[in-house]
């Protein structure tokens, strides 16, 4: 059931005022103990709510998103608000401008309530790498909220926000969505502008909505999509209509990667549940094919090699010269290195150093360029697969969420926990997590630019599983 449509009707029929709606959600966010909020936008949210109420009172028509409260991962620019990336370095940094995707939501009348906790600069899979305290899982608070968009997924799961905007580079929307039993979409790379999203790994960074229904994902996706002159990797896309995704009759063949399921690292229950779901799909008459794919270790290593190289380059601008928490040293270079040493978290430093390692002379050929070559092979493999199947299904994670504190004890395990999400990121494909099929959900993936098919199959699975 679409939360957006339900609230829209309530507002239109004057069953609730927008001010009360917003105030109630702000209270929930303020009182919450899951560490989901970095800063609350209470004053601006209430001022916007009043305007919506005045419009309704005057008998004016309101748009579907008008007055709908939402959350923003704290890596998006929203003019005048703190945008910290959950880091010491940007603890007091204010956005001078607004990200394109967020501006489109503001133009549609949606009301931002909070900047949401996440792993610092997106560096993490648990939302523990943050100066605001580890995000606690919505269902089991002793477990992690997932990451890096952990605060966003927990806020949606707990109904603190109607929807939230996360960012997905290697699984950062899909994995926390899975850990908290909500929907999370990584659209095709370039469908939504990245302008105003702090860059982590630019070749896979995607803006992604998190919500409680497929319909809400569709509504928000349509609003944010489109070509943007400020991000030249964006492309013009067609609006996805509600009617077009209701029936999945044209989906005849579905594939899954057999090595994902045969992998010894997968939790036996997740494996069993995934195979049960596959059997249910088969029973509807859809053909299911087991596909060959790259080993988890190769996928994770390729992703991290390229992501670290890109983040080392992207984060080199953070030196405390023009903004950020500068710590003065005895000269310019000393100021740079003290500022960065003291303000970056251990995980961010690890990734920056790793990136500079693979980009440096003597190493780039045997690691970075080889990583690029592997990425090409991965993309080619997807192209081949989508000639044979319409949709690829996969679990979201090999395991259930770890206890808070556990993933920091075993870094390799943390990186490998991204095994099922990073491949689709490298392929720049549209992938949706649905809270069905296994305890941490299932991923639905289609060929590039075919986000519509993903939502269509999600509707089918919602009724089938």
């Amino acid at each position: 059931m679409s939360q957006i449509r339900k609230i829209h009707t309530q507002l239109k029929n004057k069953e609730i005022t927008c001010t009360k709606l917003v105030q109630d959600r702000l209270d929930l966010l303020k009182q919450n103990t899951h560490n989901t909020v970095n800063s609350l936008l209470d004053e601006s949210a209430l001022a916007l709510a009043k305007k919506v109420d005045a419009k309704i009172e005057n008998g004016e028509t309101i748009g579907l998103l008008e007055g709908i409260p939402f959350g923003i991962k704290d890596v998006y620019m929203l003019q005048g608000t703190y945008t910290t990336a959950s880091s010491d370095l940007l603890k007091k940094y204010k956005s001078p401008y607004t990200a394109t995707a967020i501006q489109k939501l503001l133009d549609a009348g949606a009301i931002p309530l909070a900047k949401e906790n996440c792993d610092s600069f997106g560096h993490g899979s648990s939302s523990e790498n943050t100066i605001f305290g580890a995000v606690k899982n919505a269902i089991h608070p002793e477990f992690v909220g997932g990451g890096s968009s952990g605060g966003s997924a927990v806020n949606v799961a707990k109904d603190f926000t109607v929807f939230s905007i996360g960012g997905d580079t290697g699984g950062s929307v899909r994995q926390p969505a899975g850990y908290n039993n909500v929907f999370g979409l990584k659209p095709t790379y370039g469908r939504i502008s990245r302008f105003g999203l702090m860059a982590y790994a630019s070749s896979t960074d995607c803006v992604g909505p998190i919500a409680k229904s497929i319909e809400d994902i569709r509504i928000v996706l349509n609003v944010m999509s489109g070509k943007d002159i400020k991000d030249l990797t964006t492309y013009e896309s067609q609006e996805i209509s509600e009617e077009k995704i209701l029936k999945a009759n044209d989906i005849k063949t579905v594939g899954y990667f057999k090595n994902f399921i045969e992998n010894k690292a997968i939790d036996p229950q997740i494996k069993a549940d995934f195979l049960t779901s596959i059997a249910k799909i088969k029973a509807t008459g859809i053909e299911v094919k087991a596909l060959d794919f790259f080993e988890s270790e190769t996928l994770v290593s390729t992703y991290y090699t390229l992501a670290m190289a890109e983040t080392a380059s992207n984060l080199s601008r953070l030196d405390g010269t023009n903004y950020g928490n500068r710590i003065e040293g005895k000269n310019l270079k000393d100021t740079y290195s003290i500022t960065r040493s003291e303000n970056f978290s251990e995980e961010s430093k690890r990734r920056i150093v790793g990136g500079n390692q693979v980009l440096s002379q003597g190493f780039s050929d045997e690691i970075y360029l080889k990583g690029l070559n592997l990425r090409d092979q991965i993309s080619e493999s997807f192209e081949k697969d989508f000639k044979e199947v319409d949709i690829i299904l996969s679990p979201v994670t090999p395991n259930t969420p770890p206890k808070i504190g556990d993933s920091l004890k075993d870094l390799l395990a943390m990186y490998l926990s991204d095994a099922y999400t990073v491949g689709f990121s490298l392929g720049q494909l549209p992938t949706l997590t649905i809270p069905k099929g296994t305890e941490t959900g299932m991923q639905i993936t289609a060929a590039k630019n075919n986000d519509e098919l993903v939502l269509k199959f999600a509707n089918f699975l919602k009724d089938t599983l």
Binding site: Q79, G80, Y93, K94, S95, P96, Y97, I229, K230, L232, E297, T298, V300, S301, T302, Y304, T305, M308, D319, G320, T321, N322, Y323, G324, N325, R326, E328, G329, N331, L332, Y336, S337, I338, R340, S341, F344, K349, R350, R351, I352, V353, G354, N356, Q357, V358, S360, E366, I367, L369, K370, L372, N373, L374, R375, D376, S379, E380, L411, L412, Y415
Partner: protein
């Protein structure tokens, strides 16, 4: 000129050392089989000249300029202070 730069210098992070865990990931790449076609450019995206932004100066709004100045780490007597650049 061949001056070896260590990762702490390259990263501007004092005392930075390569991580053993990250090195394990890189080892997987080193040992991986790659295709021989060396087609590293399959995913290079070219932007059509017609899609480029106009080459004109776009002035920021007053509020944007004000926030940029607010974000500056150090100010003295109305000037924004940076470290001396020429020292070596």
């Amino acid at each position: 000129m061949s001056k070896m730069m260590t990762v702490d210098i390259l990263s501007s992070i004092k005392g930075a050392q390569p991580s053993e865990t990250v090195n394990k990931l890189f080892d997987v790449i080193k040992n991986a089989n790659i295709s021989n076609n060396n087609s590293f450019n399959n995913h290079t995206k070219a932007v059509s000249l017609n899609d480029l932004r106009d080459d004109v100066v776009v002035h920021s709004s007053a509020i944007e300029k004000q926030i940029i100045v607010e974000n500056f780490p150090k100010e003295k007597n109305g000037y924004l202070v940076v470290a001396k650049v020429i020292e070596e």
